[in-house]
């Protein structure tokens, strides 16, 4: 009976398609990291975030193409391992696409090395009764490992087109387009539909019939690297090297060389004097002058901060992050972090959002969705807001403290990490809910593709600028207004008991801390200038930066927290973090002063 339906649908799919009143909807479905995004890009000529770890294609991307005479809407869905039972957020999105008429036809993209797993998914896709094509991708990597799949035999068994592909080189794309008309509902025996175990047995047996593994080639450079990055003896030194490279590239090259070039050169000598001159020429009204090019001027402060100080740091960080991400390195870090994260009610998986948080906490807050349980997500969001400095802050920290001493840096990181562990430990005990067990698939180590890396970095930087620059400008306008109506003086005065008394900082930092809420990096940049002009002592710098790091996240991050977890939780997180930041700062100030530390 199911066979009958299958044939009918197969016929429907190959009918002359001009009769259709709307484009044919083609959904790309597959396990994470099998090359779906690359296939999508090749099919549609559009770009989706391609990366080497799960959880990057969070939303559904769509593109329209002409295949032969047929207009197709191609949908890229988030990677899925299963479509049944308790599914993750990603998996639900994909299931929705399959359940509704958002897909007329399914192209299952699969990793040719992992045929067994692919077939387990095919078995589930079949239950949706849609015409399907199996695209066996990465046959190059499979071949290198001595794995050969007998595609015609598999085609005969499943009754659907099976296309062998190397998507990154475009091999098999033409065959895939041609096969659209031949798509059919996969033939899965009724016995295999009984449940996961039955399906697994079917997939196993079928794999044994059509797959041939010749020699297991072990000594490839990728395998050696994969081994080296997860073994402590080599893994920890590699981690140290990676961190040092990150410091050199982002902290030194980005935050110092490029910032200096842009701030002093392009803006200091070029844009700012030029716009001042222009404003004075064209609109010689004092208030306009101040608004645009004054102390809190839109150009001299807003644009300069965002472009000259923040952009280089963010761009270099995202480039480096993209490299680590695409190479498959980051998930391997999870092995080392699993234990420590478990004391905080998380597991090793949390390393992904935490590392991304070093770039932008807002973006990282969004990716906490990859974590298993609501409790884990909440703890991760809290810790991101509390202790993970974003790239601009990190740059300020490295820029200011790096110039003072290593001890200053170590103090700050020690205090912040200590606080995170303490707060995480408490949160894990206080909050209700469960921790999920640590199970993580490690992607193979690959050499990232430069083109992909650049596109991805460009998209992320654009995203960041779209989020940050408007807030920077609004922040500047707000500062300007506050300054005009005298509120800035008042705010600084109100904050003075805490800032100068408790924390022992110069009065001007009050305003910087307040503005830091608007954008963390904005506050960071302000602190940077304060330190540059020599207004901070070593101890003051350490205390100010510690408070700034622990302090409330920026507005964008707060809004993202509210979006992900609701207003009440967002406010609660701020309510927890603010006192922690202030009391830690006060305690640190007290201890450092009574010990007579000078750095």
């Amino acid at each position: 009976m199911s066979c009958h339906i299958a044939h009918e649908q197969a016929a429907a799919a190959s009918r002359p398609l001009t009769l259709r009143s709307r484009p044919l909807r083609v959904a790309l479905v597959g396990q994470p990291n099998v090359g779906k995004s690359v296939v999508f890009g090749r099919l549609t000529g559009r770009y989706v975030t391609v990366s080497n770890y799960p959880g990057t294609t969070v939303a559904v991307t769509q593109g329209r193409v002409l295949v032969g005479a047929e207009v197709c809407d191609v949908i890229d869905t988030p990677g899925v391992n299963t479509l049944e039972g308790t599914v993750s957020e990603d998996e639900r999105i994909t299931r929705d696409v399959l359940e509704t008429d958002r897909a007329d036809l399914v192209v299952q993209v699969a990793d040719a090395r992992n045929l067994r797993r692919a077939l387990m998914l095919t078995g589930q896709i079949a239950t949706f009764g849609k015409p399907t094509i199996l695209a066996l991708n990465m046959v190059d990597e499979a071949f290198a490992r001595g794995i050969v799949v007998d595609a015609p035999a598999l085609e005969a068994e499943l009754g659907i087109p099976v296309i062998e592909m190397v998507a990154v080189e475009g091999r098999g794309m033409a065959e895939l387009r041609d096969a659209l008309a031949r798509a059919a509902v996969p033939h899965v025996p009724t016995a295999a539909r009984a449940g996961a175990t039955a399906r697994a047995e079917w997939a196993h047996a079928l794999t044994t019939r059509v797959r041939h593994v010749s020699t297991i080639s072990l000594a490839r450079i990728q395998e050696t690297l994969a081994w080296a990055t997860r073994t402590p003896l080599t893994g920890l030194p590699i981690l140290a090297v990676v961190l040092y490279a990150l410091y050199l590239f982002v902290g030194v090259f980005g935050a110092q060389t490029l910032v200096k070039l842009l701030e002093d050169g392009v803006f200091g000598r070029g844009i700012n004097p030029a716009s001042t001159w222009l404003v004075d020429r064209v609109i010689p009204i004092p208030i306009v002058h101040d608004f645009l090019v004054g102390e809190y001027g839109l150009v001299t402060m807003g644009v300069t901060y965002s472009i000259a100080i923040v952009l280089p740091v963010v761009a270099t960080f995202f480039l480096m992050f993209g490299f680590l991400e695409d190479s498959g390195y980051i998930p391997r870090l999870a092995i080392f972090c699993d234990r420590i994260f478990r004391t905080m009610g998380l597991n090793g998986k949390a390393v992904l959002p935490m590392v991304l948080g070093l770039g932008c906490d807002t973006m990282a807050t969004m990716t906490t969705r990859i974590l298993g349980t609501p409790k884990e997500r909440l703890i991760a969001i809290l810790l991101l807001a509390l202790g993970i400095p974003c790239s601009a802050q990190l740059a300020t920290i490295l820029g200011i403290l790096g110039g003072i001493s290593f001890a200053a840096l170590a103090t700050l990181f020690g205090v912040v990490i200590g606080q995170m562990i303490l707060v995480g430990w408490l949160a894990a005990r206080v909050l209700k809910g469960e921790r999920s067990e640590f199970i993580l698939e490690l992607p193979p180590i690959r050499w990232p593709r430069i083109g992909n890396l650049l596109t991805k970095t460009r998209l992320r930087v654009w995203w960041y600028l779209g989020e940050a620059v408007p807030l920077f400008l609004i922040g500047t306008v707000l500062l300007f207004v506050l300054d005009r109506v005298g509120a800035l003086v008042w705010l600084s005065a109100a904050g003075r008991p805490i800032v100068t008394g408790l924390l022992g900082l110069p009065p001007a930092t009050a305003q910087i801390l307040v503005m830091g809420f608007l954008r963390r990096d904005y506050g960071a940049a302000g602190l940077f200038q304060l330190a540059h002009s020599g207004q901070l002592t070593g101890v003051q710098a350490v205390v100010a930066l510690t408070v700034m790091t622990l302090f409330v996240p920026c507005v964008a991050n707060f809004l993202m927290m509210v979006r992900e977890r609701g207003l009440r939780t967002g406010l609660a997180i701020i309510g927890v973090i603010t006192p922690i930041a202030i009391f830690t700062g006060a305690g640190l100030n007290y201890v450092l002063r009574s010990l007579g530390v000078h750095f």
Binding site: N81, T82, E84, G85, T86, D111, R113, N114, R116, R117, M120, R145, I147, A194, G195, A196, T197, A198, A200, E201, A203, H204, A226, W227, R230, T231, P232, P331, R332, A334, I335, F336, D338, R339, R342, N347, G348, G372, S436, E437, F438, I439, L440, E441, L442, P444
Partner: protein
Amino acid sequence: MDVGAQGVVVDIVPGDNVENVESGEGRSPSADRLLSLGVTPGARVTMLQRFPGIVFLCDQTELAVERGVANAVLVRPWENPS
């Protein structure tokens, strides 16, 4: 299982919330997840490392898991046919 040892998955021990042991599904979230990642009865596994975390190879998939999860996978030694 020692590092380097190979085996065949026999079963995945149910977690605390046993509901549907017969079909092998719904045993525990971890068991379901392992199944969906290809750790199914009959699959070949190789232990890659035990410290600082357990990593094993199942078919062509490298999986990092915590001890509790690894302990739930029942394995019988795999004899080399040659």
